[in-house]
């Protein structure tokens, strides 16, 4: 049974005023930890998991002699394996991620909050976390590490991300797959506005899944882009293709939100078909609230 989180989540605009990304990450994680019921990102420590019947070849050090005394049967204690998995956070820095909507933070900034919070959690759990970005080009910024000072480097790299370019995510995912050990975790944070409709992205994510990696795609979008709010203009252009202008009135076009929704629904289907987890996020939503909702949804699932 789940209960509603008691923490008042901080809206992105307020987080932005907190200052450095390290403080933001800590704040988000505090809110996150207060909101979740059980962390799915455990893996470190010597936590007991279950008993099983002893089998020949098992390490006798794990025999539960007390239970043998009571039941006269040999059981072996099993512990949750210390994960120490390798993870890569891949952040989209294409030009479209600079978009902020009315009065909000940019999508890149929001993606940085999410990346920082997740990195903070995973490094705290003993996992190795690396950072990659794509926009102007695919870049592996930091190799996965779990040492305590690595989080600082990672947050610094996140702070330095600058938007630009229109590179797709497929290339960087492939490069991450080459770099990372099998069975790792890849978290892609992007608006997923791919020129090919996400075909290459889904294929690359599928290739990672085929390697045994866990792939999560966190889609970041503003309310203006999703159609929940109407942008105040009459002539629009794609930041990744500025020469292309469209005179339009989204406020008077009910089909706009539907077309946006259909695009992402199709992409989500393609990703799910490949075993990739798809998480839609909105920049108007508090980061820790979004993470809590996601984690709780996973637990429910």
């Amino acid at each position: 049974m789940t209960s509603a989180p008691s923490t008042a989540f901080l809206p992105p605009g307020l987080l932005e005023r907190l200052g450095g990304l390290e403080l933001i990450a800590k704040t988000v994680v505090r809110g996150f930890q207060a909101g979740i019921h059980r962390s799915p990102l455990r893996g470190a420590g010597e936590d007991f998991a279950k008993h099983r019947d002893y089998q020949q070849g098992d390490d006798v050090r794990y025999l539960d002699w007390k239970l043998y005394g009571r039941t006269d049967r040999l059981y072996v204690r099993e512990f949750e394996e210390r994960s120490n998995l390798q993870a890569f956070v891949v952040v989209d820095t294409s030009a479209s991620m600079e978009y902020a909507g009315a009065g909000g933070v940019t999508k890149l900034r929001y993606a940085s909050y999410v990346a920082a919070a997740l990195a903070h959690l995973m490094i705290g759990a003993g996992d190795s976390v690396g950072l990659a970005a794509f926009g102007a080009e695919a870049r592996l910024l930091l190799a996965p590490r779990a040492r305590s000072g690595h989080l600082h480097d990672l947050l610094l790299s996140l702070e330095r991300l600058a938007p630009g370019g229109s590179e797709g995510a497929a290339d960087v995912l492939d490069r991450v797959g080459v770099t990372m050990r099998r069975g790792g975790r890849v978290i892609l944070i992007s608006d997923l506005l791919e020129d090919d409709g996400g075909e290459a992205l889904a294929a690359a994510a599928g290739r990672l899944r085929a390697r045994g990696d866990e792939v999560m795609v966190l889609r970041v979008l503003t309310p203006e882009e999703s159609g929940e709010a109407a942008p105040d203009a009459g002539l629009f252009f794609d930041p990744e293709h500025p020469a292309r202008e469209v005179p339009a009135t989204p406020r008077l076009d009910p089909g706009y939100a539907r077309r946006v929704g259909a695009y992402y629904a199709a992409l989500a289907d393609r990703l799910r078909q490949r075993g990739v987890e798809y998480v839609p996020l909105s920049t108007e939503q508090p980061v820790e609230q979004a993470l809590v909702a996601w984690v709780n949804r996973r637990r429910g699932a």
């Binding site: 479209s96 600079e98 978009y99 608006d191 506005l193 979008l221 203006e224 882009e225 999703s226 942008p231 105040d232 203009a233 009459g234 002539l235 629009f236 252009f237 794609d238 930041p239 990744e240 500025p242 292309r244 202008e245 469209v246 005179p247 339009a248 009135t249 989204p250 008077l252 076009d253 089909g255 706009y256 077309r259 946006v260 695009y263």
Partner: protein, 468 residues
């Protein structure tokens, strides 16, 4: 009450104010351009390619309209009349030529206009002949005194009177209107002369005219040949050719030449023409003739011998500058051979001028007659060949006569008519001297307000542009 000297500018300003209004309403401009990463999902809507801007900048619009209206109003010469105290009167009373017989009637008219039933003055009285003098005190007694004083008989200069109007009206500030009345025996030629002075002065209104009818000639009736007998006294009286004699005869005079001698009688002659220096006994005879009612015309060569008699002052130095001689009626003759320097004596009426404006002939009453001095030799020079020569000599021969019908009947020129009808130079005059006629000119203040509006418009426009 505010009146406008040139209301067309006000109308132009009001119409001009519609221009920024129209521009604010109809200006089309491209719509705001904004990034949107999901642009690919938008349905193109060509209607939004241009945007009709609404008059959202109402403050700027109001300032721009105000600026144009104020500028138009400033150029329209607004005059504020602070209080309505009724119409005040300025009466210009001619004390000059020809007012003699009509003087009681003229003074009575002035009194009727200026003294109310309570005996209090309702305006200003200006007396004028060659100069204009405002009368300080206005009551029944002063009018009685004025009536008892005969007019000066000097030449009436309307210019002098009209130039006094601004000063007189300034004394009446506060009245909502001022009416000027000119009481004179109208001489339109002199009127046009005065009009130029009026154009330079300030007078926002019409001028009323009380024209005193020309009285019947008191001197001998014209056309009576017997009464138009002239004696010409000249050194060359025996010569057969005399231009003066010919001119006089051409204009109806019967001329008798008399040689210069000590004992010459001029009795019975209506005109005595002295063309050369005369001995003292003859000068005395000439004086007696004038006092007896004759007109004595003295020309330049005789001036020195009659110095004490002629209405002239100065050195009487003759030079050969010559020039054209103009009568007040506009008649003129050119190229005199000799010209005598000097000026008309006090009390003398100027009856001709040189083209440069200096006096050329003057007349003054003497006893029952008149002395006329022509500052030229009327027998010499090409002027004698001029077609107008006989008429000029005849005018001199008429001496102190009031202007003839030819002057009085001359038609008014357009400028004079405009003044009499209250249009024409009135508007121009209103701007020349602030407050004339009781009003206070507001043009410069309205212009200052327009400049303030312009500054405010610039400031707000700059602020808007910076904010954008």
């Amino acid at each position: 009450m505010i009146t406008f000297g040139t209301p067309a500018f006000l109308l132009a300003g009001a119409l001009g104010a519609l221009v920024p209004l129209a521009l604010h309403l109809i200006r089309r401009r491209p719509p705001n351009r904004a990034p949107l990463p999901t642009e690919r999902f938008l349905a193109p809507d060509p209607r939004t390619a241009v945007r009709v801007s609404r008059p959202t900048d109402l403050l700027l619009l109001a300032l721009r309209m105000l600026l144009l209206v104020l500028a138009g109003a400033a150029f329209a010469h607004p005059v504020w009349f602070p209080a309505a105290r009724g119409t005040r009167e300025v009466v210009l009373l001619d004390t000059g030529t020809g007012m003699g017989a009509a003087w009681p009637q003229a003074v009575a008219e002035a009194r009727r206009l200026l003294l109310g039933a309570d005996g209090k003055p309702r305006g200003e009285l200006v007396l004028f002949d060659t100069i204009a003098v405002p009368m300080r005190r206005l009551d029944a007694r002063s009018f009685a005194s004025l009536q008892a004083t005969p007019p000066t008989g000097a030449e009436s200069r309307y210019a002098a009177a009209l130039e006094m109007i601004p000063a007189a009206t300034r004394e009446l500030r506060g009245a909502d209107s001022v009416r000027v009345t000119l009481i004179t025996r109208a001489r339109w030629a002199a009127w046009s002369e005065g009009l130029s002075a009026l154009r330079r002065a300030a007078w926002p209104g019409a001028i009323g005219l009380v024209s005193i009818p020309v009285p019947p000639a008191t001197d001998s009736a014209r056309g009576d040949t017997a009464a138009r007998e002239a004696i010409r006294i000249a050194g060359d009286a025996r010569t057969p050719v005399s231009y003066t004699r010919a001119a006089l005869q051409a204009t109806g005079w019967s001329v008798r030449d008399v040689p210069i001698a000590d004992a010459v009688s001029v009795e019975g002659a209506r005109l005595v023409v002295v063309e050369d220096a005369v001995p003292a006994p003859l000068a005395g005879a000439v004086r007696r003739g004038a006092e007896g009612g004759a007109t004595v015309l003295v020309t330049a060569p005789a001036a020195a011998s009659l110095r004490g008699l002629i209405p002239w002052r100065g050195t009487l130095r003759a030079d050969s500058t010559g020039g054209a001689m103009w009568l007040a009626s506009g008649e003129h003759i050119g190229r005199a051979a000799v010209r005598v320097s000097g000026d008309a004596a006090p009390g003398a009426a100027l009856i001709a001028s040189w083209e440069d404006g200096r006096p050329a002939a003057a007349a003054r009453r003497m006893g029952r007659g008149c002395i006329v001095f022509a500052a030229a030799d009327l027998e010499r020079g090409e002027m004698t060949m001029d077609a107008a020569y006989p008429r000029v000599v005849d005018r001199f021969a008429r001496g102190c006569e009031s202007p003839g019908p030819a002057d009085g009947d001359a038609p008014l020129d357009a400028g004079a008519r405009a003044v009499l009808h209250g249009s024409g130079p009135a508007a121009v005059a209103a701007s020349a001297i602030p407050g004339a006629g009781g009003g206070i000119a507001l043009g410069r203040w309205v212009m200052a307000a327009a400049l303030l509006a312009a500054l405010a418009e610039t400031f707000f426009a700059y602020s808007r542009r910076s904010a954008a």
